[in-house]
Structures are given as C-alpha cells and as structure tokens.
Amino acid sequence: MSISPTSSNAPVNTTPLDRRSKELRRKIVRMIEAGGRGHVGSAFSLVEMLRILYDEVLRFDPVNPRWPERDRFVLSKGHGCLALYVLLAEKGFFPESELWKFCKSDGILGGHPEYGKVPGVEASTGSLGHGLSFGVGFALNARLERARHRTFVICSDGESNEGSLWEAVLCAAKHKLSNLTVLLDYNKQQSYSTTYEVLDLEPFADKWRAFGFAVEEADGHSVPELRAALSRTPFDPRKPSAIICHTIKGKGVSFVENNLNWHHKNKVTPEEVKALLAELEVD
C-alpha cells in the first residue's frame, strides 16, 4: 500500500487502473457530459470498491430487484452515485439510456440515489450519516429471519463526521452483526479541505476497532486487495466487519486527483470532457 494516512499532504496511490476500471470511469464522464454536473471526484474514488462488490460479491437479480434472498447494498455516501448508476445499468437493473438522462426531468437518476425510483437502490441517501442505520436494520432483520443474505454499506470519511454514523456503529457492534460489512472510502479529502484539516478522523481504523468492529485496511483501488479483504469477511464471527479502503479522490485523472474543485463539478465544458476522456483512454 502506497498511502500514508498520517500525513497531512495529499495522499498518493500509484495503483494502475485496468481496462475495466477505465471504462467505468469513461461512462461516468459521459454521464457528467450529459447532465452537465456531478460529484466526479467522489465517484472516481469508489469505482473499484463498487466494481468488486457488483462483479464478485453481491448476489442480486436485476429482473427482480426485490428478490428476498439478495444481498443488501447501501451507498451511504449517496453523492458517489455516478459510479453506482454505471454499474447498476451494466448489470441490467435499468436501460443504459437512463445514464444519459442524469439529473434530467425525464430521468430516474438524480444527484443522489432514490429508493423506489431507481431499481437496485435499497435506501435513499444523500444526507450523510443515514445509510449505515438502514444497513443495521437490514442486517438485524436478516438475523431475525435467519436469512443468509448479507448487507454491505459504503460510507465516506467526510460522512464519518456525523454523530449518527457512530450511533449506528455502536448499535451494529452491540448486536454482533457479522452479516454486515462496512467499506470506508477513505480518500482523506472532504468538500472544503483534507479530513485532517476539517475534522481529523485518525486513528481511523482504531476508532472502528474500539467501537467493536473487526477491521482490515486495503488499497481501495487495488481489485486484488479488495477481493482478498472481502473474501475474508466476516473477519470475526462475532463482530461486524469494516474495511478501511485507502483511496484517492478523483482517482484515474491527474487533474482531478486530490483536486477539490472537482468534488462537485457543474458547468462541465466540452474541453474538460475531452481532457477527462483522454486520460482514461484504453489501449
């Protein structure tokens, strides 16, 4: 792992992106082009986390999105939804044409994912600090019903400023919800500045451990590392699992990486789209 989480300097991650990671990002760029806006950096940060979940971990049926035995997934950092939409479309939850109606009045895909509107979305998120409680509810219900499906929640570092998130962490640990796995998108950047400057979370992994989770850390852009970590969950049969995923906000495009002007971008110009796609060229 090439990231130093204790440094206040911008984190570095040199993990190369493969063809699939680049293609997913290219689709995100096409959505931004269509919608003219979007949380670009936040979406690029979690492409690999979402990709491994939807490609190899989650059990789902796009034809029957409410299939009772499906695994539940909540994107608690709802503003990262561009990456989620690209994967949901690819898996067949809705036609790809919806992607090109991002934030349009005749589309179903808005700037934050909505339950009941977007097939495959289990909870409406967007306001931070809500999604993990939904996940705890899903996991509690699975235990109550002795169901085998699992619940996965992606939270962000900025989101971890919210007290309600830590209420949910305490609750999950109290109930020993080993059927719950939280992935933290730890890119060390929030909207205004670094997490170190705005509201320092360190020692982040230790906090989750102290709150009762079994914790591992991984390079959030390394598919093999994420695969390995996820394959070991639950890390402890009597604890919920957390994977601190060290990521780069804007990963994959040099001028977006760690550049907070790209946290949420509107009025994206054709030149910018061209430059983004140029860096995401696949061989």
């Binding site: 009941g116 289990e122 809500h130 939904f134 509690l140």
Partner: protein, 316 residues
C-alpha cells in the same frame, strides 16, 4: 394512555410477527413481558434517536412494522431529518409513540415539553399525526396502526386522563369525531383538550349558548371536510390545543377556513401556548391554567367572540 398504548403493542405483537418494538433508554421494566416472550423483537438501543429511527426504517423496508417509544421532544426535535428522510421519504411503516405530549413534563422544563410536535411534523409529506383524548380512544386507535401505510406519530397524554370518548362513532385515522352538536359556536380540539372543550360547552349551555364540539384525534391528514361542515353552521369557531398556537391544530383550522371563503364571516380564535417556552415548572394542569387551556377560558373566548358586534349581527 402510555400504558394502554404499550400494552397494546405487546398484544398486537403477540398476534403479528411483523411487529417490532424499539425503545431508546426507557424506564426499568418497560414492556418486561414483551421482552421475556419475544426477545428477538424487543430492542432497547440507547440514547441514540437518529440511529433508532434509521434502523426502524431499514426494518420497515424489510416488511416489519416498527413501534418506537421515547420522549416526544426527542422524536421530533432531535432526529427530525431521520424522520423526514428515513421514514417519510421512504413511506416506512414506523410508529412513533411519543411520551409526554404537550405540557405533561411540566416539572422537567422546556427541554421535555412537546409544544411544537404538531407543527414540526405537519410539514412532512406522508406523516400521520394522531393525539387521542384518553386511554379508551388509544385502545381503539392502536389496532388500526398495524396495517396503516406510512409513518405515524402518536402523541401520548399524561396517563390517568379522564375518559371522555365513547365508541358511538368508530375511530378512523384521518376522521374528525363530532362530540356535540350546536348552532351558536364550534369548539375544535385535539388530544386531552377534548375534556375542557366539552366542559366549556356544558357551561356555555347554562348561559344559553349552544356550542358544538368537534374532536380531531388526527391532526394530519386534516379532516377539512368535517371541519367545514360544522364551521359552516356557526358564526364562531375556537380551536384548543396543548401546543404553540403556531403550526398546530389552530393553524390547520385557520388555513382550512380561510381557503373555504365562507360567504358569512366567522369569528375565530386559536387557544394554545402563545409562542413561548413555558417559564414555570409545576404541573401540566398548572401550566395549562397559566396559558388559558381551561374550560373557563375556552367558554370566555366563545362568549367574547359572540359578543362582538359582527358576530351579534350574524346571529340575527
């Protein structure tokens, strides 16, 4: 009323496996039997209302019917966004049983007095707000909460509130209950204010004034049809609530009557807390007296409105 409500959650849960109870950090022994018999469906999750509402929403989306109980102000003020988004936006079948509606917690001061709960939740799409008048009415309400779609806020009284309701009219969520007919004035009340409203009507009768009483145990959705039917027959309307005059029952009555654009003008007054945090301790009764939430003051308000020149003319 609280005891009846929670006892009924237990009874209903015995019959329906979808029912789950979540408390925050309630008094020792609360729903002891529920916990003993159905431990999987009894949760006590600590002083963490935001998370409790969130997990309740998650459970509800999985098909459960979740009853949450804690102090009213903590359900309305503390976790407003969770109620708005997790419950209302998702139309989640979660029932918020709110202890200490209105001025019940007078000795504990303004942190515990639910004087703005109607106003806060009336602004939320899909929210249902009910405030039964007594334990008997609570008993009629609770079975209806099981299969109701969407979130419900249930405001509890103090306990031991005098029984003033009856089952002549079946309880229906969203429907007003006419308690008394009258052609001179209409008194509209909700929750435990029904008793002083009825007492006011009795004393007015002795003064030769014929006042109707309309009880609205459901504050939202507001039964504007029944209100207008009753209001159209009288020149004077008074609303009474254990709540700030801003945003609650009186506001709903005022909004509905204003938009009805009656041909004949009405005399109207809201009785409630005058947009203040109560500045005294004491008891629910003593604070009610301080802010005019009594049968005498309701009767005086009706008489004063009737005495105004225009109102007199309307009576001709």
């Amino acid at each position: 009323m609280r005891k009846t409500s929670l006892d009924m959650v237990y009874e209903l849960a015995r019959q329906d496996k979808r029912i789950i109870f979540i408390g925050s950090d309630l008094g020792i022994g609360t729903l002891k039997q529920f916990k003993a018999e159905m431990p999987d469906r009894f949760l006590m999750e600590g002083v963490s209302e935001a998370n409790i509402v969130g997990i309740a929403a998650g459970l509800a989306l999985e098909g459960k019917i979740v009853y949450i109980n804690t102090i009213a102000t903590f359900l309305t003020r503390r976790c407003f966004e969770q109620v708005a988004l997790d419950l209302c936006l998702h139309n989640a079948n979660v029932r918020l049983i709110a202890s200490g509606g209105g001025l019940v917690y007078a000795p504990l001061g303004p942190t515990h007095e639910a004087i703005d709960d109607f106003a806060i939740f009336r602004a939320l799409p899909r929210m249902t707000i009910v405030a039964p008048a007594d334990a008997d009415e609570m008993r009629r309400l609770m079975p209806l909460t099981v299969d109701h779609t969407g979130p419900i806020y249930i405001r509890l009284g103090k306990g031991g509130d005098p029984i003033v309701t009856n089952d002549r009219v079946p309880f229906r969520i969203g429907k007003a209950i006419p308690m008394r007919e009258g052609s001179d004035a209409l008194i509209v009340s909700t929750g435990v204010m029904l008793k002083p409203a009825l007492d006011a009507a009795s004393s007015l009768e002795q003064a030769g004034i014929d006042a109707a009483v309309l009880h609205l145990p459901t504050v939202k959705p507001f039964d504007s049809g029944t209100l207008l039917e009753f209001a159209s027959r009288v020149p004077v309307v008074v609303s009474v609530e254990e709540h700030n005059v801003i945003g609650g029952l009186g506001s709903a009555v005022a909004e509905t009557m204003a938009e009805a654009n009656f041909d004949a003008p009405k005399r109207f007054r809201r009785i409630g807390l005058p947009d203040v945090f109560p500045d005294k301790y004491g008891s629910q009764a003593s604070l009610m007296a301080r802010y005019g939430l009594t049968a005498d003051r309701i009767a005086v308000a009706v008489e004063q409105l009737l005495q105004t020149a225009n109102a007199k003319e309307l009576l001709k």
